[in-house]
């Protein structure tokens, strides 16, 4: 909704001072970095062409040094620049997706379940990386996830939506202390219980029930 891929059925979304529906669509989208589960790399472009697409649309050419910097930021080898997307692994592709979203030096980064399709190890590593970039580049990042553990570990603020309405707006620490209401606590309970069971399992003798 922020980048108007979906039209709001009610209410307003403000970007800075402006209602997003009043801003020129293409320009607005170039100010917002967008990363989503499907990744959507352009299969007929090389990695570097994919990364450079945003500036290209604005009529600029992204210098090779900047592409190298962006690849560096997402921890991809500089040699990847000339590869085609179908030569990359899922994790590598989403790294390129993040680099593409950052190429325009966006004011806002939207991540819509960005790591949903990735294996847990890649997922964890990429999550950490994005959080690091967020801090390093001073970004505003909105990340949508179903995984409360991911939200608690990465976010400064956690907002919980239920049936289309906002029910919670708390820090991770406050949520862990039991605040934020019933629905939020239900979500927090899942990773907490899993963590406790894992810890318990470590204490049990070999072969015992969980």
């Amino acid at each position: 909704m922020v980048n108007t891929l979906v039209e709001p059925s009610g209410g307003r979304v403000l970007f800075g001072e402006d209602d997003v529906t009043t801003l020129p669509q293409a320009q607005l989208r170039r100010r917002v970095g967008y990363v989503f589960q499907g990744i959507g790399l352009f299969p007929h472009f090389t990695v570097s062409e994919n990364i450079a697409i945003g500036p290209r649309l604005a009529g600029e050419t992204l210098p090779a040094s900047r592409i190298a910097d962006l690849l560096n930021l997402v921890e991809l080898d500089i040699e990847m620049a000339s590869r085609m997307p179908d030569e990359l692994s899922g994790g590598q592709r989403q790294r390129v997706g993040v680099a593409r979203a950052l190429a325009n030096a966006p004011e806002l980064l939207i991540m819509d379940e960005p790591f949903g399709a990735l294996d847990p190890i890649t997922r964890d590593a990429l999550g950490e990386k994005v959080r690091e970039l967020h801090t390093k580049l001073g970004l505003t990042t909105i990340m949508v996830t179903h995984d409360m553990a991911e939200a608690l570990l990465l976010a400064d603020r956690v907002l919980v939506m239920d049936k289309g309405a906002l029910v919670t707006d708390e820090t991770p620490r406050a949520l862990l202390k039991g605040e934020g209401g019933e629905i939020a606590q239900g979500l927090v309970a899942v990773p907490r219980e899993q963590a406790e069971r894992l810890a318990h399992m470590e204490d049990m003798p070999e072969g015992g029930p969980a």
Binding site: N3, L5, Q25, A26, Q27, L28, R29, R30, Y34, F36, G38, I39, G40, L41, F42, P43, H44, I53, G54, L57, R100
Partner: protein, 512 residues
């Protein structure tokens, strides 16, 4: 084999015309189909209507679609003026382009529908305008599929373009139609080899471009494109130095006599220093309109045909009156000049085997009436629907036991094998003499006359030099020599001649 090669080498101008026609039709098809496909991808209604229309067109036989453009263009003359061509290149182009539409449109629409939605979401997400999305994402990703559609369309169009012969557009169909009609299989095979060869080469080149697109190899599709452009350029160049305005175009319908007479007329004009071109194998119905509109310059037509088809008359005023009326009518209504009669008739007449005729004691239609209920009558596929047959039936009160339709060639076989007792033969047909058939007399003159006439288009009607060059043909061809020439072309085996050779022999016989 060497005969086929020789024919192939002489097909250069037909080949060039075929390439230019097919390429133009495919080009027009692409120009219409691609924007339509883009529109269709944004509106399901447009998609349904466009694909429905294209599929409907595909169900019309190509031959019928080509023929349909004649009346359509004729009616459009109200809007575009009398100079709008109704035969030849334009109708062939339009019909073939319509035919090319479906595969291109369907592939383009399918390609767009199957684009990865994630990629399209990303295109929106990075802030592409819809034009940028089309140019940078949709078009390049759909290109291999669109190219496959163009490839299918090209192979179809090159094949179907052979049919444009029937509406007066030179193509590789010319040798095929001429060969089928005169049972000259070398011509048919040569025409097929040329058009199939062309289709294969084009398919391979377009396939190269298609896979170049798919693998994103610029040199590959570039080379393919360059080869196609080169072929097209060569064809255009070759066609450019073909006919000029002074060329006299001679038409022939789809039977041997017409091919022979066209060659005879052509030779006569060439002797007088004119350059000539032939439009062979035209549909019988379009020849008169083609002459009247000066799309062709000279044809041989028959009084009975013009009488019923053009004057729309069903009465029979007698041979002389019919001819005089037609000459007058043409001069006043179409501007066509009837130079004169060649001297023979190609009429419908009933023919019987000599032994059968003697056995039943039948020498005229009058004699036939009494025994007719026991007889089987054979006719060509249209005969029993024609006004001539109705006229005969009514004039003599004829009640025949059975009527059967045969293709003209098999009609004579049926007579020989006894499957028909009498057939509707053509009086100038060589097989009447060869099979020693008895032609039944028509004392009540129920069958109209079919005098062969030499027709000149309005464009050359006033040209007395051309008229003078053709004058020696008038009244010079007896039905006997025409039969002999027809038989030489129609027969099998030893002594079979090409229409050109038969025309030369005919010219010798009549002292030209």
């Amino acid at each position: 084999m060497s005969e086929i090669i020789e024919i192939l080498l002489g097909l250069g101008d037909k080949f060039a015309a075929h390439i230019v026609l097919a390429a133009s039709a495919i080009g027009l098809g692409i120009l219409v189909a691609l924007p339509l496909a883009i529109w269709a991808s944004r509106s399901p209604t447009v998609s349904r209507v466009a694909l429905g229309f294209a599929s409907l067109v595909q169900t019309i036989p190509a031959l019928a679609l080509l023929a349909l453009f004649f009346p359509i263009l004729l009616s459009l003359r109200v809007v575009f003026g009398e100079n709008l061509p109704t035969l030849g290149f334009l109708p062939a182009l339009l019909a073939l382009a319509l035919y090319a539409l479906l595969p291109i449109l369907r592939n383009a629409v399918t390609a767009q529908a199957n684009l990865d939605p994630q990629v399209l979401e990303a295109a929106d997400g990075v802030g592409m305008t819809s034009l940028q999305k089309l140019r940078l994402v949709e078009a390049p990703l759909a290109a291999p599929f669109v190219m496959a559609g163009i490839r299918t369309a090209s192979v179809w169009t090159i094949g179907a373009a052979t049919l444009s012969t029937t509406i007066g557009q030179p193509s590789l169909g010319d040798p095929i139609f001429a060969g089928l009609q005169t049972q000259n299989w070398a011509l048919v095979v040569a025409g097929c080899i040329a058009s199939a060869g062309l289709a294969l080469v084009v398919d391979a080149l377009l396939g190269m471009i298609e896979s170049g697109f798919a693998k994103r190899r610029k040199w590959q599709w570039g080379a393919g494109l360059a080869a196609v452009a080169f072929g097209l350029g060569a064809a255009l160049f070759a066609q450019g130095d073909g006919e000029d305005d002074d060329t006299i175009i001679i038409a022939s319908k789809q039977f041997s006599e017409q091919y022979i007479l066209a060659q005879l007329i052509g030779a006569q004009l060439e002797k007088a220093g004119y350059s000539v071109a032939y439009r062979d194998g035209l549909g019988s119905a379009v020849v008169h309109s083609a002459v009247a509109s000066s799309n062709i310059d000279i044809s041989v037509d028959y009084t009975g045909t013009i009488w019923t088809n053009e004057l729309e008359r069903t009465d029979n005023p007698g041979r002389e009156a019919m001819y005089e009326t037609i000459v007058e009518w043409e001069r006043e209504n179409t501007g066509v000049r009837v130079l004169g009669r060649l001297g023979f008739e190609n009429a419908y007449a009933f023919a019987m085997r000599a032994d059968r005729s003697a056995e039943l004691g039948i020498t005229s239609l009058e004699d036939m009436v009494a025994v007719a209920p026991q007889l089987t009558l054979g006719g060509d596929p249209e005969f029993f629907e024609r006004p001539e047959w109705i006229a005969v039936r009514e004039a003599y009160g004829l009640r025949v036991g059975e009527t059967r339709n045969f293709s003209p060639t098999f009609m004579y076989n049926a007579l020989q094998s006894g499957e028909a007792d009498a057939i509707s033969a053509y009086t100038s047909d060589g097989r009447i003499a060869a099979d020693k058939l008895v032609v039944l007399e028509d004392p009540r003159e129920a069958l109209p006359s079919y005098d062969a006439m030499l027709m000149m288009s309005p464009r050359i009607a006033e040209d007395e030099d051309i008229a003078a060059a053709l004058q020696p043909l008038i009244g010079a061809i007896s039905v006997e020599v025409m039969r002999e020439a027809n038989y030489a072309v129609d027969r099998k085996g030893e002594g079979k001649l090409s229409p050109k050779d038969a025309a030369e022999q005919l010219a010798d016989q009549i002292g030209l």
